[in-house]
């Protein structure tokens, strides 16, 4: 026994958390949102997510192979899987498959692996992939499925796949329109909504439409009209989905997977700023409530900005990081040309992160304490 004991460096006791576990927990907390999305928008999102998963994991494995690295970490740390799920949730549900693949490959190889792989990338891969597609082909990237009752029954997996892979897509679209036009279905929704749905089941998003109203200073009127129009399926669907992300985010905070400071700082600062814009010119800008519910605001706050690699993990810097993104977010949404500003503001925030990290300092233990403090 003597002289052949195994040496190990302290601490010998380690907690059981691993990067893979962290990532898997994160993916699990996205399941409610995924179910809600499928419920309200049909199976398009699920199929797109599957496509991104296959292409993200595949491209990461391929790249590691080309770099002559071990491939096991791809499965073990699940980081590519997380990127894929996040990207799948952000892309329009019925996006042509090749765009999803291009976005995934770009996200994994150009944004992540080229920088050195896990932990080395400067930008959030999912958001960078999204922005890449948005800039490259704006039209399909801003065409979303309208929320509709029983969407999971109408946009069935088969129909969604047909549209996504462009195989008999015309027939699938016709079938969807027919189902939507069915008498028993139309009875169930508000009168004002029928005309909208009857136009077609896809279209530009609320935020894009609001943006179009901005030059005529009709934003407030538009928002009010929409609010009355979409009594149930418009606004409520958004609220439910945002609620799902909020729930998942709180779970992540409880599980100590994400830093609570970043979402709090982002949501707080952006609410204050959008409120300032709204009260200054209501006819030009949407209310903080609309900003919070529409678009990827809540999702971004909890799932995108908190990506540890591209965020700042220092406690003091996290506040600044969230605030910086919030300022960029409000400026782009209210004054910029793109309707959904989360992706852009996050990427710009990522670019600022190293600087923020360098410029903030954590108060070291004992700093500011004097011997006479004992008599305080």
């Amino acid at each position: 026994m003597s002289g052949n004991l195994i040496l190990e460096s302290a601490p010998h006791d380690l907690s059981v958390s691993t990067t893979g576990k962290v990532m898997r927990t994160l993916i699990l907390t996205l399941i409610p949102a995924l179910i809600a999305t499928t419920w309200f928008y049909g199976f398009g999102t699920l199929i797109t997510t599957l496509i991104t998963i296959v292409s993200c994991v595949g491209s990461e494995a391929l790249w590691l192979k080309l770099r002559k690295r071990r491939i096991a970490p791809v499965w073990r740390d699940c980081s590519a899987l997380t990127t894929a799920v996040l990207l799948g949730l952000t892309l329009p549900p019925l996006l042509p498959w090749y765009l999803s693949v291009i976005g995934s490959v770009f996200a994994i190889i150009v944004v992540k692996q080229v920088y050195g792989g896990l932990g080395q990338n400067l930008f959030n891969p999912a958001m960078a992939g999204f922005v890449f597609l948005l800039i490259s082909c704006p039209l399909p990237m801003t065409t979303y499925v309208d929320a509709m009752p029983d969407a999971y029954k109408i946009i069935t997996p088969g129909r969604a796949a047909a549209i996504i892979f462009d195989v008999n897509s015309a027939e699938a679209e016709k079938a969807i329109s027919q189902d939507l036009g069915a008498a028993d279905y139309l009875k169930r929704i508000h009168e004002a909504e029928r005309s909208v749905i009857a136009d077609g089941f896809t279209g530009s998003t609320f935020l894009v439409d609001a943006k179009h109203e901005q030059p005529e200073k009709n934003v407030k009127f538009f928002a009010e009209a929409k609010a009355s129009d979409f009594i149930f399926y418009g606004l409520l669907v958004k609220v439910v989905i945002a609620g799902c992300f909020l729930l998942g985010g709180i779970l992540l905070i409880v599980k100590d997977i994400i830093d609570w400071r970043i979402p709090l700082s982002f949501l707080g600062v952006s609410t204050v700023l959008t409120a300032a814009f709204y009260f200054a010119a209501p006819e030009l800008y949407l209310s903080p409530w609309h900003h919070l519910v529409y678009g990827a605001t809540v999702f971004g706050a909890f799932y995108i900005m908190t990506d540890p690699v591209t965020a700042v993990s220092k406690p003091s810097a996290a506040w600044i990081f969230g605030g910086v993104i919030a300022v960029l977010f409000v400026i782009i949404r209210n004054l910029g040309g793109y309707p959904d500003a989360v992706a852009f503001s996050v990427l710009l925030g990522n670019a600022c992160a190293p600087l923020i990290s360098i410029m903030t300092r954590r108060r070291e233990f004992g700093e500011g304490f004097k011997p006479e403090n004992i008599n305080d």
Partner: protein, 664 residues
């Protein structure tokens, strides 16, 4: 509510960071037991942080129990004592409990067996049962003499810690650390449960030495029985201004600075001493050892060790003599090696694995863990840091470990120091929580060592530079002096002809000022005249026809009576005497040279001097001191040469030993 009220009421503060590893205190309910005396005890000379003391014993010497084996000569030296009576087998290098398996000088004792003469006999050390009437300095020296060093883990000499605070006379809060926050370890818990009264006695002694305003015994709330026992002991002893404060379980609450924060809310920076803030922290087992040493004169020869881990058949707490082999101890507890055998000395968070179990238990070893197959998971493969920030949230020193790690890996020493490397207490929280299984602590330790090496290198270079600059300065100074002398000599040579020319050109001025040359000339002339006169006088005296002398004394009379002659002609007499002396001196010198050549020593010199004396007593007596002086100088010179040679030798040895230590 003021801070003092809070401390007195036991309301707690908290510190940022910390982790909650599984406690695994399996041995908490196992009473302190004893093991049979071993055959051999191996005591390393250095069992504390500081320098080893000087060895007092020789192989073959019989020592009694409690007899000091080493003796401290300076501060930071702590002696060791023989735990049991026995015979010193050797004082030699032997393995010590160290992660790198280092060897250090150890005293190996073969313990007496029952029936052997001297078995169980105790050396009597002084004790101070009425310490309250004893000088503090005496008590502090006694604590040092009893070999007490911090038993919590670091092994800092207790007397040094006490002395610095006692000297400053500013102790406000005395905190007795019974937190024992590391998993597995229960030895302090058992001590508090079983020997609370002795701990209270120790606290009284510390209170006498430090005179604190308030004393807090801090115990984590997972030791309810220890808390109950201490409370009972406090109330039964009536010790004033002392309380037991329950602190919540959290690792590392037992780290001195974090404990101070929990109790007082004060954070003491790592670059400051806690005594400067009026707070002193001592471990319970140290306090217990102080009580033993002061009241009973028992040196620190035994300690309580928790022996645990599922590779052992039974587990428990044992009070064992220091120097007991860990291997023997484990065998006593029924060790069977698992497929991945590991032995951890200390807790699972801050302890270290040893390569060879055949090393002794020392003053700072509080726990031996022999983990079984699936106990204490082995290191997972390390993956990339994703900067999740968990390490920062877990760090009790408020550092940003992931940032620090990046600097360490990149060998950015300056940046790492700026990032707070020195404040890292190596508690292991960051490594514990890291989801990427990064060995942060190992990297920090390595970086600290590297910085130390760099510093030593830099110091060495600076010293060499300084030496070089000094040498250059010295050489320049010598050169300058030489040049000055040369210039002065040249000036003198030049000024001579110039002066002569001046005297020739301007006689009046010369005679007026009576230049040196003129004066010397005058003196020479006068001398010549005097000699001539004397010669004439002598001639006149000898022929007896010199009427001008005005003396009636004949030349015969003069010859018969030299005294008269000398009185009559003192100058001549004087010159004769000088000539005689000179001759004697030359003779003596010649003799001396001869004696020196023949290698004879003082006796020869004496002979010479006696001979010289015989030849010319006056001259000899005049010359003798000179000889004596020269002899003395020669002897001194020889001694100086010898001393220089010895010094050079010593220096060479020193340099050798230095390179040895550096080589380590």
């Amino acid at each position: 509510m003021s801070r003092w009220d809070k401390i007195r009421k036991g309301s707690l503060f908290s510190f940022k960071g910390g982790v909650f590893p599984p406690e695994n205190k399996f041995t908490a309910d196992m009473a302190i037991e004893h093991v049979p005396a071993p055959e051999y005890l191996t005591q390393p000379l250095k069992q504390h942080s500081g320098a080893p003391a000087e060895v007092l014993v020789k192989p073959g010497q019989h020592v009694l129990a409690d007899e000091p084996l080493t003796s401290p000569k300076s501060a930071m030296q702590v002696p060791i004592h023989a735990p049991l009576s026995g015979t010193v087998v050797s004082v030699a290098m032997s393995g010590i409990p160290h992660p790198s398996g280092y060897m250090e000088p150890c005293v190996k004792i073969r313990c007496d067996v029952p029936g052997e003469s001297g078995y169980g006999e105790c050396y009597v050390n002084p004790s101070y049962p009425d310490y309250q009437n004893t000088d503090r300095e005496t008590l502090l020296n006694h604590i040092n003499r009893m070999g007490i060093a911090g038993l919590g883990g670091a092994g800092f000499p207790t007397d040094v810690k006490l002395r610095s605070s006692a000297k400053a006379e500013n102790c406000q809060v005395l905190i007795i650390n019974g937190a024992e926050c590391e998993p597995y370890i229960t030895c302090d818990d058992r001590l508090m449960r079983e020997r609370a009264d002795r701990i209270i006695e120790g606290i009284r002694i510390l209170q006498y030495i430090l005179n604190p305003v308030y004393t807090v015994v801090a115990v984590e709330n997972n030791k309810p029985e220890a808390i109950r026992e201490l409370n009972r002991a406090i109330s039964s002893s009536g010790i004033p201004e002392t309380r037991v404060t329950e602190i919540p379980v959290k690792y590392p609450s037992g780290a001195a600075r974090n404990l101070i924060t929990v109790i007082t809310g004060i954070e003491i920076p790592y670059n400051a001493r806690s005594t400067a803030y009026g707070i002193v922290v001592h471990n319970v087992s140290t306090v217990y050892a102080v009580a033993d040493a002061v009241l009973r004169g028992k040196p620190l020869t035994h300690r309580i060790v928790t022996v645990t881990g599922s590779a052992l058949k039974k587990q428990g707490n044992v009070e064992i003599p220091l120097g007991y082999s860990i291997k023997e101890l484990m065998n006593h507890f029924g060790y069977t090696a698992p497929s991945v055998p590991r032995v951890i000395v200390g807790g699972p968070m801050m302890g270290f694995t040893i390569h060879d179990a055949n090393v002794p238990v020392i003053k700072t070893s509080n726990c031996i863990i022999a983990p079984g197959e699936h106990e204490i998971e082995r290191t997972k493969p390390q993956v990339n840091c994703i900067r999740c920030g968990r390490c920062a949230r877990a760090c009790p020193s408020r550092l940003i470990p992931y940032e620090l790690y990046a600097f360490c890996v990149a060998n950015e020493h300056e940046a790492a120091l700026k990032c707070g490397l020195k404040s890292c207490i190596e508690c292991g929280c960051c490594s514990f929580v890291c989801p990427s299984a990064i060995r942060l602590i190992a990297e920090f330790r390595q970086e600290k060592a590297q910085i130390k090496i760099e510093k030593i290198k830099k110091d060495r270079i600076n010293a060499a530079k300084e030496r070089f600059v000094l040498k250059q300065q010295r050489l320049a100074e010598e050169e300058r002096l030489r040049a000055e002398r040369k210039a002065a000599a040249l000036a003198k040579i030049k000024s001579k002809p110039a002066a002569a020319a001046a005297s020739g050109n301007d006689a009046a001025a010369v005679s007026g000022t009576e230049s040196e040359l003129e004066q010397r000339k005058r003196i020479a002339l006068e001398k010549a005249a005097a000699i001539k006169a004397a010669r004439l006088k002598a001639k006149a005296g000898a022929s007896g026809s010199d009427a001008s002398a005005g003396q009636t004394v004949s030349s015969e009379a003069k010859a018969e009576s030299p005294v008269a002659a000398s009185a009559q002609n003192p100058d001549l007499e004087e010159r004769k005497r000088i000539a005689l002396e000179k001759a004697a001196a030359i003779k003596a010198a010649r003799l001396k040279a001869k004696a020196e050549a023949s290698g004879t020593d003082t006796s020869a010199g004496q002979t010479v001097s006696s001979e010289a004396k015989a030849e010319s007593p006056a001259a000899a007596s005049a010359k003798n001191p000179d000889l004596e002086e020269r002899k003395r100088i020669a002897l001194e010179k020889a001694a100086a040469i010898k001393a220089a040679r010895l010094k050079a030798k010593a220096e060479a040895e020193k340099a050798q030993s230095q390179t040895d230590t550096k080589g380590e």
